[in-house]
Amino acid sequence: MTNKISLDLRIWRQESVSQEGAYVEYRIEDLSTNLSLLEALDKLNEELVMNGERPINFDHDCREGICGSCGFLVNGQPHGPKDATTICQLYLRNFRDQSTLTLEPLRAKAFPLIQDLVVDRSSLDRLIISGGFYSVDTGSAPDANSFKVSQDNSSSAFQTATCIGCGACIASCRNASASLFVAAKLAHLGQLPQGQTLRSERAKQMKKQMAAEEFGSCSNNLDCEAICPKEISSNWISWMNRE
């Protein structure tokens, strides 16, 4: 059974960071509810191209919720209304027929706008560059089984390592804090026996970089946890603060 849906879309259009942006209204008619929101945008873009208009620019790639490329706001919420779901896996059946969706880019000082719904998240890479790794050269690794890791530890480290770097936590925070992103990385690396040396050094470096990138301080509102498509717990922020 294929159901159809029609929606009004208010989409943030902005040529570049140096030009003014504004919402532009579009209507999509009688689309199958089995399409994802991004597929609806693909179709809208096809129409725009045919009409000689500039298509709407948005980041995306894997379309299966794992690469972290996508992630704009739908009615003010990063990745839209569905829990534990990135925007590429958000299907039209999650919306009411004839409703209006407002789509706008992730907004944070550390994410300068590029075009339309696309922002520059290279600040997240720079946080990792500041210390989000173990220092081990290829070929110098000891036997993998020389590290024993309990199932609990390995599973907990895995949980924090699943962060896809989409930046939703930052856009959801009223202070645009990167605390959850950094805490997840520190917790991943800090829970394993391989990462015990330099553990506090890592935390210091990454926190310093957080400030340099002008991410805000933690708002304690826990919006980050609620919005995280990988459901990473905000308890790791207090864990980080104890480091």
Partner: protein, 640 residues
């Protein structure tokens, strides 16, 4: 016509050959490395691991990716695991032997024995490396690494991190790479598409890329170039690949003289979420582990439109169990895909356009309880529900095979160098170990073997032997020429100003390719496919519409350039499939099958890698690299 160059295979027994060769490879003093620049294209598992390792060893590396960050490369989506011959016991020769043999056999004897052997021998060090980087592999109760069994294997040797092994391995390589960015050994060049290679006196000396934000063409010079750009399943439009995965860099290299090996060897994965609507943009893979508990069936009655729960047991055809009593639902990927397609073609299929089969968890739920099934497959069940909107615990899932992986790729020698000196090719983009069919959990292994271990040695060895350096005038001229070529491609596409959007062409190409060069191929279909692709290509260059602002972000232009290359590559895939008059691995020719409908290999005439040379203005030339086997003898695959 040039000849196929030497694949440089090791002499003597293949056991331990890699180690013997490695110790004899020339090296370069660190001071000299410091003055050398390597460009790596692609930030996935093989690109990031190679870039990080070469930088650790003293080279300057530029890493170019079309993503905003290397962490987004499609290696991130690999679910199942990574094979390795690694046991707690010290003597692990049996493990290496088994992995080696399963890889050769899995590829249906269409890969080089020596490279498969090397893959197995390196595998243990890869796990060591990943663990030292902090990859949180699954653990046993006592804290040692856990493994699970995978398709095509008799032993348990697949290391995994839940269903997100690719993500965790990629983040390990990405973090190693970022450490080298911090050390100022690696420069990241994100949001760029490589469009041409710079060739000076026959040697590759750099690349031309388009900056996807400014639209500017840029030149990056190098002493050597590494392509780690992944596979080309997106020729089929609908595949499990990420949307922007493309063949542009390898296709440009091919047109400049790099030979292409076994282009028609593509793997179709049986358990993917099928098409729901014309505008659907991709097919999502569901791990084949579901076949452990899911039973695959179709209605016995043709064109049966009833709800699955209204179809009584006696009117269901559990066709894999019927045809393969011993393996049942666990037959290899190619076999499962083929049987599903045949029945759907015959009108038994269900779902949209009758293009899917049921994967039913009902009996497993009755036997084990919903809780156990949920805990085992929770993430897959959630994913299916998100995409399809139905609960697999209440209703059978609908699945269908989807293009997933390409075993073919640029031809490289044992040292991963293409037929263009100075151009190395890694990971899915090359053709080294998977033969006609890739073994599950060997893709991640190959990427890391290439990136962490093989390429760093072989690139260094090649550079050490380079005495000739071109004059700056020669390089300048080559750069200008390559830039002009890239600019012309862009101008040609933009000025068409036709009335058909790019995706329309891509969808049509996908349909041709899945019908003519997909799960089943035959001579008539392949010949028709060649004609259809030619027509579509001509139409594309006369009627495509690309927005003409080029000095700014222009995703439609990016797509158009990719589709232009796919159209040409599709032609080569069809030609290759046509010229291989046998069935092997994932390449199934209708005309060449046993009485039971299984693949019929012809070792007498086709025990070779088909290697294609591009010729401007004429048909491609096929060369043949013969394969010989000494450690393992070709035998027949049977799953009945």
């Amino acid at each position: 016509m040039s000849h196929l160059p030497d694949p440089c295979l090791p002499t003597g027994v293949c056991d331990g050959a890699w180690q013997r060769i490695q110790t004899s490879l020339p090296s370069i003093p660190v001071e000299k490395k410091n003055g050398m620049q390597i460009v790596v294209v692609g930030g996935g598992l093989s690109g990031s691991s190679a870039a990080a390792t070469l930088a650790e060893q003293g080279f300057h590396v530029k890493l170019i990716t079309y993503h905003d960050s290397p962490r987004r490369a499609h290696s991130v989506a690999a679910q199942g695991g990574i094979n390795a011959a690694k046991s707690i016991e010290e003597d692990n020769l049996d493990g290496i032997n088994e992995l080696f043999k399963d890889t050769v056999r899995g590829g249906d004897f269409r890969a080089r024995e020596a490279t498969c052997r090397r893959l197995a021998e390196i595998s243990g060090s890869i796990i060591d490396q990943c663990v030292a980087q902090g990859v949180p592999f699954a653990r046993e109760y006592e804290g040692v690494l856990a493994t699970r069994r995978f398709g095509g294997a008799v032993v348990s040797r697949t290391f995994y991190a839940r269903g997100q092994t690719g993500q965790q391995l990629l983040y390990g390589a990405y973090q190693a790479l970022m450490r080298q960015v911090a050390n100022q050994r690696v420069e990241l060049l994100p949001r760029r598409d490589v469009l041409e290679l710079i060739k000076v006196n026959g040697v590759i000396r750099g690349v031309v890329s388009r900056n996807l934000l400014s639209g500017k063409l840029e030149v990056f010079r190098a002493h050597a170039v590494i392509l780690a750009t992944g596979g080309y399943s997106n020729v089929y439009f609908l595949s499990t690949n990420s949307l922007k995965s493309n063949a542009t860099a390898i296709w440009r290299a091919h047109k400049q003289g790099a030979f292409f090996a076994n282009p028609s060897f593509t793997q179709i994965h049986p358990t993917c979420i099928p098409l729901g609507d014309k505008y659907q943009s991709k097919l999502t893979l569901m791990s084949e582990s579901l076949r452990n508990d899911g039973r695959i069936w179709l209605p016995k009655q043709i064109n049966d439109k009833r709800h699955p729960s209204d179809i009584p047991e006696l009117q269901r055809d559990y066709f894999l169990e019927r045809l393969y009593p011993s393996y049942g639902n666990m037959v290899p990927r190619d076999v499962a895909s083929r049987r599903a397609k045949e029945l759907c073609d015959a009108g038994f299929g269900v779902g949209v356009d009758g293009r899917s089969v049921y994967l039913d968890l009902r009996d497993a739920i009755l036997r084990k309880g919903p809780q156990e099934i949920k805990s085992k497959y929770g993430n897959l069940i959630d994913m299916y529900e998100r995409i399809v909107g139905e609960d697999p615990l209440a209703m059978p899932m609908r699945i269908y095979p989807a293009p997933h992986y390409t075993m073919g790729g640029l031809w490289v020698d044992y040292h991963l160098m293409s037929t263009l000196p100075g151009l190395f090719v890694l990971g899915e983009a090359n053709c080294t170990v998977h033969g006609a069919n890739r073994l599950g959990a060997n893709a991640l292994l190959q990427c890391l073997a290439d990136g962490y271990f093989i390429a760093p040695s072989s690139v260094t060895a090649w550079l050490a032997g380079q005495t000739f350096s071109p004059s700056s005038q020669e390089i300048d001229n080559a750069c200008i020429e390559a830039m002009a070529k890239a600019q012309k491609r862009i101008d040609d596409l933009v000025k068409v100003k036709g009335g058909i959007p790019v995706d329309d062409f891509h969808r049509k190409l996908g349909k041709i390719m899945i019908n003519r060069c997909g799960i089943i191929r035959d001579e008539r279909g392949l010949r028709s496919g060649l004609k259809e692709v030619n027509e579509l290509k001509n139409q594309f260059h006369n009627e495509v519409r690309v927005p003409f602002e080029v000095d700014c972000p222009n995703p439609e232009l990016e797509k158009a350039m990719r589709v232009a290359d796919f159209l040409e590559l599709a032609h080569l895939m069809l030609s290759d499939a046509l010229s291989r008059e046998e069935s092997c691995g994932a390449h199934f020719r209708e005309e060449y099958q046993t009485k039971e409908g299984e693949a019929l290999r012809d070792d007498e005439n086709y025990s070779h890698i088909a290697v294609w040379e591009f010729v401007r203005g004429a048909s491609s030339i096929k060369h043949v690299e013969g394969l010989s086997f000494s450690a393992i003898q070709p035998d027949k695959r049977s799953y009945r």
